[in-house]
Each structure stands twice: as C-alpha cells, then as structure tokens.
C-alpha cells in the first residue's frame, strides 16, 4: 500500500521537474542561510560563519542529486534518456536503421505467423471450465466391425463407460456429420455435431441465449429430441444475432426441429481448428444420418468419447481403473451372435484390447494430428531464418561499431562506464528490434491469411484466425527483445572494448575495424552459410516430396479438365428410390450440356483421403487366418470410367441392367485381380464381402479396370472392388465427375444450374476440379514445400548479403597490401583469386558445419517425405551448388573491386 503511494508520488515527481528543482534549491539555500545567521549570532565573522555552515551541512549538490533520484523514478528516467538518445542516433543513419528494421520485420513476422498457427492448432487451451480435467478415451486393437474416423468407439461402449466408470464426473461423446438446414425456401449444408445430453454440462459451457442441452431433457428418448443449439458464430453470421431465434422451427434433413438456444460466445467446440455450426442431441442420429442408425450397434465405431476427471483423479489411475471395465464389456460382446464365429486367435486379440487416454485440455483436432510435425518443422526453419537475419544485423552493428569507435572512446574518456555504454547500445538494438517486431506483426497478418489457404476445410468453418491476440503480441514482443539481445550483445561488447589511447590518436583504422571484429563477422557468415544449407537442403527434400506426390501415376487422365461436385439428397428427405432416380436425371442433364464430354458419379470421392474398406471372400479360395484380404470399395454409375479416363482391361462397364437392391456384379481393378486371381481371368468368377457369418461369394466379376489412386498419392494403388450404384441399398451422398472439353470457369455455374433445375432446394457443394481436390489433399505437403522453399531462398539471400558485407570489408582492410602486391607485379587474376579464395573458404567452412548438421537433423523429417530419402545426395549437392553460386557472386563483386585497385592510390591509402 505504502509502496504504491510512493510509486505514484514518484510518478508525479516526473512532471514539473524544473519547478521542483527550483524549490529544493530555495529550501536548501534558506537552510544554509539560517545556519549562517545562527553562526553570526554566535559571534563568528561573516566569512567564518559561511564556511562553517557549508562545512556542517555537507555537500549541497550531493543533497540535490540525492533528492532528485528519490523524487522521480531514476531507472525509468535513464531508460527514457537512453531511448531518446537511441532515436537520435538511429535517425542519423536512416539507411542502417531501415535495413535492420526490414530484416528483422521479415524474420520476426514469419516467426509470428507460424507461431500463430502453431499456437491455435496445438497449444491453446479450450475456453471451458477446468480444461485440465478433460481427457479423451479410446481403445486399441481389432474391433470386429466398421469404423469411422480416428479414435472412434461404439455408442453402447460409451453408454457403458458413462454409467459405470468411477473415475470421471462426466463421460460425454460427440460425432460430426453434415446436415442440411432449411429455413423457408433456402436450404444450406452445414456441419453439425451430434452430442450426448451432458456435453455442455460436462464442459461447463452455458447458453448465450435460450438454453443448452441437459442430460435430463435431451438424452432420454430414441429419436425424440428435435432440438438444435446454434453455435455463437453461426447465430451471429446467419441470424444476425437475433435473440428471437429461440423457439423458431427449422428443418434439419427435412425433419422439423426447434432452435432451443445458442451456445456461449467464444466456445467453438472440442476441435480448436474447426467449429460446427449447430449441435443436435445424439439420440437424433438416425434422422441426422439417413439410412444409418448405429445407436444400438456395438460393432460399429463412430463416436469420440471425452470425459472429465473427478477431482483427485489423475490420468494414470483413471486409465487403469477403466481397463477392467473394458475387459468385462469385451467378454460380453464376444458372446454376441455376430462375432461368436470369429476364430480363436482373433478372439484373443479382440479380448486383449486396451484403453487409451490422453489429456484433452486443448481438445482434439484431426488437423493437429496431420499438422503437428510439419508445423514444428516449419517453426524450426523459420527460427533459423530469424537467426540468419539477426546475424546480418549483428554484422551491420559490428561494422557500425568500427565507425563509432571514436565516439565510444571519447565517451569512455569522459568518464562513462562501460556498463552504461553497453546499456545504451542495447537500448538502441532494442529500439530497432521492437520496430522490426511491430512491422513484423503487420506482415504476419498478411502471411497467415496466405497460410490459411493451404489448410483443408472439409466443408467446415475454420476457426483459425489471423488477427493477433495478446498471446501473439506477447510472443512477438518477447521475440523482439530476444533478438535484440541476440544481435546486440556481442557487438555492444565489441564496441566498448576499445583501446582508448590508440583509438583517440589514430585517425584511420576506424573505418575498417579491428582484427577481432573481422573475425567475429566471419564466424557469423560461416554460421549463416551453415544455416542456409540446412534450410535449402530441407526445402529441397520437401519440394521433391511434393513433386513426387503430384507426379505419382494417378490413373485418371487430365484432372484439370475434370470437374467434381457433391450432392446429398438423403439429407433433403429423399427416399432411396427417389435418390437413385435423381442421380440418373442429374447425370443425363449434365451430359446434354455443351462442352461436357461425359459424366459419372461415385459414392466415395477420389483423391480426398476418404475410403471404405471391407474384407472379401473369393470363390474357390481359402484364406489363412490373419491373411490380408482387405479390399477398398466404391459404388459407381455407368460411364464413370470413361469420364475418369481409365480403360477397362477386360469385360464390361456397368449399365442399365445393373439395378436392384443388392450387389450382384462388380468390377475389380488390376491390383485386385493380380492378388486374388493370379492365374486366371476373374471375369465370370465370384467374390463376396465378409460382413457377417456365412458370407458367400455371390457377386459376379464382370470387368477389370486399370489401376488408379484411391485416397491419394501417399497411400498409392489399393486393391479395389467397384459396385454398381444402381444396386446399392443405401442412400449415399455422391460425388459427380464431369469431363469437360476445355476451360472450367463458366462450367461451374452451368452445372449448379442444371442440378437446381431438378431441385432448387438441393445444396451443391465441394465444386472444384479434381486437380484442385488433389491440391487440397496435399495441403500439408504444399504448405511445407512452399514455405520451406521461401525460407530457403530468403536465408540464402541473407547469407549472400552477409558474405558480401564481410568480403567488402576484407578488401577495404587489405587495400594497401593489394596495392603493394600489384605494384610488385601481381596480376589482376591473381588478386581476384586471392579474394575469391577467402570467400570460398568461408563457404567451405559453412558447408563443413552445415552438412553434418543436416545429416543429423534429417531423421526428424523422414516421416514427412515421400519418394526421397532424408539423406538424399542430389538434394545436398543441389543445395551446395546454389550456395556456391550465390557465394561466388557475393564474393566476386568485392574481388573485382580489389583487382581494379590503382596501386599508387592504394599505397597512399591510410
């Protein structure tokens, strides 16, 4: 309390300084005068009285100084003085200041940008109550059934955990699904999250208006809770934050439902990167995913389970306490009729499944799984870029230090302490760094907007934002101070280490700096070359990876002329029959469009990372236990292969004959045929799917098609079975594929119009060329390749500037020596080589440092590479050659200047 009052009074003391000084002087003068008067009264002579008084009272100036220090905030005042001084000095050399600020702005800006993504995808804690108590729960091992998405569990398993697990105050679950929402005549496709009734209570998230779900009200009746909670973001963007939406009726997948409330502002869900627009009670699942119920099915894993630890429980004991419960559940499950037939080894592995648990304080994001390593790699790379930029600024400062030796020597001679001077120089560095940081912050916003373009949206809202918040500001500022120390400390030390006597008397030498400053700059350049090599080699690997992935033989022809879009009529209330007819009508209408050569559709979109795989049975073939009989499936329309540009190797395509409600015919790809029918043609033979006991091979193979990619280039060619869509009994959403003759720009709206002629309320989504689809699927690789190439280029340029600076300095320092050599008959070429040799020496030292480092670091990126080994020799050679070329240019300019020195002038050179 007292300290605060003193501080405030001192802060006030900063103002009206002159007046206070005057008052103090007056007060002290009156004190002195009174003393003199007393002395006079005691009978001293005036002169004596004055001298005594002065002696007795002590140093007048000292007292003033003491009071002054106490009055204001001396540290603050010193800093302010240093800041003013720094500003003056920096204004005096605008070129240096501009270059230094720009270099740092690039470095700090790029770091801030990558950190912003890293922070939002990986580090940030969810804005919910006590997030450190949240955990995610899943199980490992064979599940003997279907699985959707990562870390999924069956709904009955969730119910068992929710009712019987002791270690948690809440166990809750969620599932993402696309939904079609209709208000009036418009319908739009949004992302919905189906949640257990206790979802909001478990997270401690309340409503902004209306109410959220409660376990008692929203999780009791199967299909009986037609309630919707809007996300705050969707409420604002779609409904203009109108509180009147509560109680409003909307149609979700053509089912009437009621908006009961809006969740709290700032809460976007358990995935920090993406946010669903609406939430619906999980009991509504059958209506939200037409044709698929799954609520009571133990053999299908689709929900993600989260839980809140009971106070006093930690991860380890909680996980251990869940394992016996899981084993008990599994022992009961294995007696179910659908899995009782499984052979013993599989049964044992099933019973040995383990509970896994992970802290979920910062939620769970698929994006995090795929981006954590790339972002960490990029963060390291961009850190190196900043380090290189710092070294450049340090090098500039050392050069300036040489020029400022005179000033420093004079100030030291005048009695300034070395500490004071170092502090002053560090304040200068900090001013430069903070200015660079501020500019970098602006740059980073632009950069992040660009970066977000690389991230796949998967039809969901990305919640990542480019605007900096206080965390980013703090990071940025801390980085600025760190860089200031990094590039400022050594030069400051160097600058203040002057030999007073020789500096003051010696006029020359000042320009070129002393030996140790040259040595210091040379080591900085060596480090820059080494770092540049790391970045270039890394960039080379990532660019090669991307190129390899893009050049992988896809099987599909001319994917830039292949437009794809998706429709999902089941979510608009279509029955299976109506849906099949609708697809055929769309296909016919599109085919009639001018500029369209063919069109087809498929259940699973290709090159999108999605897949469905089932185990097969093959006529006349006995599989050994544990033998891989996985096949990747898809359902197709007639004309699909023609549209994709793939040849049928044998047999026929699907056609109008292939209709019905169960699969009777199939086309297999070459990889499938080679594996399961190695010695004969599969045409006319039979296969089947092992979806339950007594699976029979009752599907006739009618065609073989050339291999093509399925999920994407990284996964490669799969064994595939294609089924006629006309015989499917499930109202799948489909992806259409349209082969066009040329440009696709105007075609997009024409296609959309054709669909909407048939049903104006049908949302058409994900419209793009297949090439664009591939780019999106390769988003991670493109992000890494593009950024690492940019960082590598930037680093190389910075290193070149550094190298040039040092070589120019070397030439200036050796002007006399060179002049002498030339006077004694050295040829121009020899001088040129002499300088170049030094430049190449620095390059060699840098490479000698960089190559082993790269070799050692390569292990950390190997998981990110495709078709290239981490220690790829051609990449290293290319990086070295690029650096050598750049170094040659950076060295050649000063070398040429050296070789054209006029010996007469050089010898006169001081």
């Amino acid at each position: 309390m007292r300290a605060v009052r003193v501080f405030l009074s001192r802060l006030r003391g900063l103002a009206g300084k002159a007046r206070k000084d005057r008052e103090l002087a007056e007060e002290l003068a009156s004190h002195l005068q009174m003393q003199i008067e007393d002395n006079l009264r005691r009978g001293m002579t005036p002169e004596q009285a004055r001298r005594e008084a002065l002696l007795k009272s002590g140093g007048l100036e000292w007292a003033k100084e003491e009071c002054r220090d106490r009055r204001g905030l001396p540290l603050l005042e010193t800093v302010l003085r240093d800041l003013r001084h720094a500003a003056r000095i920096l204004r005096r050399s605008p070129a240096f200041t501009a270059v230094a600020v720009l270099l740092l702005a690039l470095g700090i800006g790029a770091n801030t940008a990558i950190f912003t993504l890293l922070d939002q995808v990986m580090l940030r804690v969810l804005p919910v109550k006590n997030p450190q108590q949240l955990v995610m729960i899943w199980t490992t091992g064979p599940h003997l059934g279907g699985n959707q998405g990562s870390r999924a569990s069956s709904y009955p398993m969730y119910q068992d955990f929710q009712q019987r697990a002791q270690a948690f105050s809440y166990v809750f679950c969620r599932y993402y699904t696309a939904l079609s929402i209709s208000l009036g005549n418009e319908s739009e496709r949004v992302t919905g999250e189906l949640v257990s009734g206790n979802y909001f209570q478990a997270l401690g998230v309340g409503p902004a208006v209306g109410r959220v779900f409660w376990p008692e009200e929203d999780d009791r009746v199967y299909k009986g809770h037609p309630a919707v909670v809007l996300s705050h973001q969707y409420w604002v963007s779609r409904f203009g934050a109108d509180p009147g939406v509560v109680g409003r009726k909307i149609f979700v997948n053509s089912h009437p439902m009621v908006i009961v409330g809006v969740s709290a502002a700032g809460f976007s869900g358990l995935d920090p990167a993406r946010s669903p627009q609406v939430r619906v009670p999980i009991q509504m699942k059958p209506l939200m995913t037409p044709g698929s119920d799954q609520l009571g099915n133990r053999r299908n894993q689709w929900i993600q389970i989260f839980a809140r630890l009971r106070p006093g429980y930690t991860m380890g004991p909680a996980q251990a306490s869940l394992q016996p419960l899981l084993s008990e559940i599994l022992r009961a499950e294995v007696e179910e009729s659908s899995v009782r037939y499984v052979p013993k080894p599989m049964r044992d592995r099933f019973l040995a499944r383990k509970v896994r648990m992970e802290p979920a304080a910062n939620g769970y994001s698929d994006l995090r799984q795929s981006y954590s390593t790339p972002l960490a790699v990029l963060m390291a790379m961009v850190g190196l870029v900043l380090l290189i930029a710092c070294f450049n600024v340090a090098s500039l400062l050392i050069a300036r230090a040489a020029a400022r030796q005179k000033e420093v020597a004079v100030r030291l001679a005048m009695g300034a302490s070395r500490g004071q001077l170092v502090r002053q120089l560090l304040v200068e560095s900090t001013v430069v760094a903070v200015a660079g940081g501020a500019m970098g912050l602006l740059l980073s916003v632009v950069m992040i907007r660009g970066l977000l373009g690389f991230l796949p949206t998967k039809g969901m809202l990305l919640t990542l934002r480019a605007e900096p918040d206080w965390r980013i500001l703090a990071f940025n500022l801390a980085l600025a101070f760190l860089t200031a120390l990094l590039f400022g400390l050594a030069p400051a030390w160097q600058t203040t280490r002057v030999d007073l006597w020789s500096t003051l008397k010696d006029a020359a030498g000042a320009v070129a700096g002393n030996r140790s400053s040259v040595r210091m700059r040379k080591s900085l350049v060596t480090a820059q070359v080494a770092f540049s090599f790391l970045l270039l080699a890394g960039a080379g690997l990532f660019v090669k990876t991307l190129a390899n992935l893009k050049q992988t033989n896809r099987g599909f022809r001319d994917i830039h002329n292949l437009i794809t879009f998706q429709v999902d009529p089941a979510r608009n209330g279509y029955s299976l029959e109506r849906l099949k007819a609708f697809y055929q009508q769309v296909q016919e209408k599109i085919r009639s469009l001018p500029g369209v050569t063919s069109a087809g559709y498929a259940w699973i979109p290709v090159l999108s990372g999605r897949e469905a795989d089932w185990d097969v049975v093959v006529e006349g073939r006995l599989f050994k236990d544990g033998e891989n009989r996985q096949a990747f499936v898809n359902s197709l329309s007639p004309g699909y292969w023609q549209t994709m540009g793939l040849a049928l190797l044998d047999g026929r395509d699907f056609d109008g004959r292939d209709e019905g409600s169960r699969y009777r015919v199939a086309i297999v790809n070459r990889a499938f045929a080679e594996r399961f029918f190695p010695d004969q043609s599969p045409i006319g033979r039979h296969i089947g799917f092992d979806l339950g006991p007594g699976a029979l091979p009752d599907i006739e193979v009618v065609g073989i098609v050339e291999n093509s990619l399925n999920e994407g280039p990284r996964e490669g060619v799969r064994r595939q079975v294609f089924l006629p869509f006309g015989q499917s009994n499930f109202p799948y959403a489909t992806s259409f594929y349209v082969r066009t003759a040329g440009g696709s720009g105007a075609m997009h709206s024409a296609l959309r119009k054709k669909v909407q002629e048939l049903d104006p309320a049908m949302p058409v989504y994900e419209m793009k060329t297949l090439e664009k689809q591939l780019d999106e699927t390769l988003g991670t690789e493109r992000l890494t390749a593009t950024l690492s190439a940019a960082f590598g280029t930037l680093a190389t340029l910075l290193a070149a500037v550094g190298l040039y600076g040092v070589m120019a300095l070397v030439v200036v320092r050796r002007t006399r020596e060179i002049g002498l050599r030339m006077a004694l008959g050295a040829r121009q070429g020899a001088v040129l080589w002499m300088v170049m040799k030094e430049a190449l020496g620095l390059l060699g030292a840098g490479l000698a440092l960089g190559i082993p480092c790269a070799y050692w670091l390569s292990r950390y990126v190997s998981s990110q590479l495709f078709g290239v080994t981490p220690t790829d020799v051609p990449t290293a050679v290319t990086a070295s050659v690029i650096l050598a070329a750049v170094a040659a240019v950076a060295g050649l300019l000063p070398a040429r200047r050296a070789s054209t020195i006029d010996p007469m002038q050089a010898l006169r050179h001081e």
């Binding site: 103090l24 007060e27 002290l28 004190h31 009174m34 008067e37 009272s57 140093g59 007292a63």
Partner: protein, 114 residues
C-alpha cells in the same frame, strides 16, 4: 571526519517524526537543529541525509509540507505531521522500544537466559 556520529537512515525518520510531534510544524533547519540539541550534540544532521529523508516521509504521506515565513522573516518550507504520520510514529516507537528492550536484556549483568 568528526567525533560526532552520523545518524542511520531508519532512525532518522523516527527522530524527524518525533520532533515534529513535539514541536509542531517546523522547517528543515529547525528539525536538524532540534535533533542535534535533543541528542546532546552527539548527532550531526546534514542536508544529504535530512532532505532525502524528508522527501521520503512526504512521499509516504507521513508528513506534509507547505511554504511559510520563519521567525526572522525568511521564506521556508514547513513540515508538519499528518494523521498517517502520527500512526506511523506510534507504531515505530513501539517497535523501537521492543527492540531496545530485547537487546538490552542481552547486556544485563545477571542474564537469566540459560
């Protein structure tokens, strides 16, 4: 320099407060004089210690200052005790008494501390 003892900072503040309590509003010179007199001229108070101490007390709100005119018609800054200063004085005086009493026990000839 002299055989007179310099005052330590902490105790000077206490002396200033006590002086102001006894004497009422007083200027810096008067305070210095009074302290010297009270100490039987054992203590010497100079500018360098007095004025920073006064400033500190003022910043802490223990004393307030106001310009006035001295007995011999000289403009001088008068310091007076504030209520907060009075409280502070009481506290410090008690603490001081406790401390000295404690210390004094150690120097009693027949200490019964064993």
């Amino acid at each position: 320099m002299t055989e007179k003892a310099d005052v330590w900072q902490g105790t000077l503040a206490l002396m200033v407060l006590k002086t102001l309590e006894t004497m009422g509003p007083l200027h810096g010179y008067g305070i210095a004089r009074r302290i010297e007199q009270t100490s039987g001229r054992v203590l010497s108070v100079n500018y360098g210690t007095l004025y920073p101490a006064l400033l500190k007390l003022e910043q802490e709100g223990c004393i307030s200052a106001r310009w006035g005119v001295s007995d011999n018609k000289r403009r001088a800054k008068y310091y007076s005790l504030t209520p907060a200063g009075r409280r502070q004085l009481r506290r410090e005086a008690q603490a001081w008494e406790r401390t000295t009493a404690t210390i004094a026990r150690f120097f009693l000839p027949s200490a019964e501390v064993s």
